[in-house]
Symmetry: C5
């Protein structure tokens, strides 16, 4: 999993039917997880808010592990980190 | 998922039978998603046009999530972003 | 999928039994697809020749999508691009 | 698999139900495995301690190979390296 | 698949039960396959020796293609290259 900070969201009206009902959050990976400025879009079924540090699962784990095995999803927020301070951008 | 802009398409007459009927779009990833100039080819069943910003799913999600589980597909456009302006190259 | 140019092949006499009968082509990714000089080895069931520009599928798509689900294959040439000129190294 | 050193852990109270009971360790990849400062978060069912060098499996291998096929896990510590000295940061 | 040179091995006494009986070889990827100094650890069921150039399959192909579908393995040596000279570090 990767650690990142939720920095925004994406709205897509025209999308795959299988994605309807999911929220798409923009997550900026922590500097230690691949460099600053590196972002990805993950679904969120945990309820993370903007500014929170989260654990993101990528690849098949995102859909299989979130009971969305048939959906075109390759990244999901799977946990909110209790104390995000150690991950703050230096 | 990754955010990118559709910048072109690829025509391939000699290809795997399982790919027949699909459109192959060239997507340039947003600068925030891995650097400018970084492109990939994704199938498109949503109907994205050149210049539109899209969500791309990669890996097994692209084929399993697009009802093409048996096809050699590793990237698919799965949504068109409503307001692409925030993703414009700086 | 990624676009690349076939630049050579690899011969391996001692290999997994499940790979017997496959050709291993060396594909150099187009500059727009991850930088010049970046190569990978892909099986070829399409009949691509040296110098041709091709579409390469990676990950599980390569084996599942090429009817070789049980073989240790993670990259496959799945199409030959009609007009490769736009992908020439600048 | 990749070699890395366990440098810490992550606590997440609000997380996917399927992750409950797992420990999340922060692993810094060895310099030879992708550059210094590059970290990921892996579950640990082997009992690795801070400072130990470990083998990390990524992708579907992490969940399928750890009897957690339905969990959103994409990295797991699967072995502790007997003699980690060769992997010390130069 | 990627081309690399076997440069060593890893010994792990405390490891996942499913890994028992496998050899873990350190493979340095060829310069053309992602830059010098970039290494990974792959199981070897072919019998590659130190200094030999090999084909490495990564991802699910490594376990599914090596009849170890339930093991936490994400890289495997699947062939020994007959003539490794073209891959020598320049």
């Amino acid at each position: 999993m990767l650690v990142g900070k939720v920095v925004g969201s994406v709205v897509s009206t025209r999308k795959s039917e299988k994605l309807v009902g999911n929220k798409f959050m923009v997550v900026e990976l922590a500097e230690q997880m691949g460099g600053s400025g590196n972002q990805l879009v993950a679904i969120d079924n945990i309820g993370a808010g903007i500014g929170e540090f989260v654990l993101v699962a990528t690849g098949s784990a995102a859909r299989v592990g979130c009971d969305l095995a048939d959906a075109p999803i390759d990244a999901a927020i799977v946990g909110i980190i209790d104390d995000g301070r150690q991950w703050m951008q230096k």
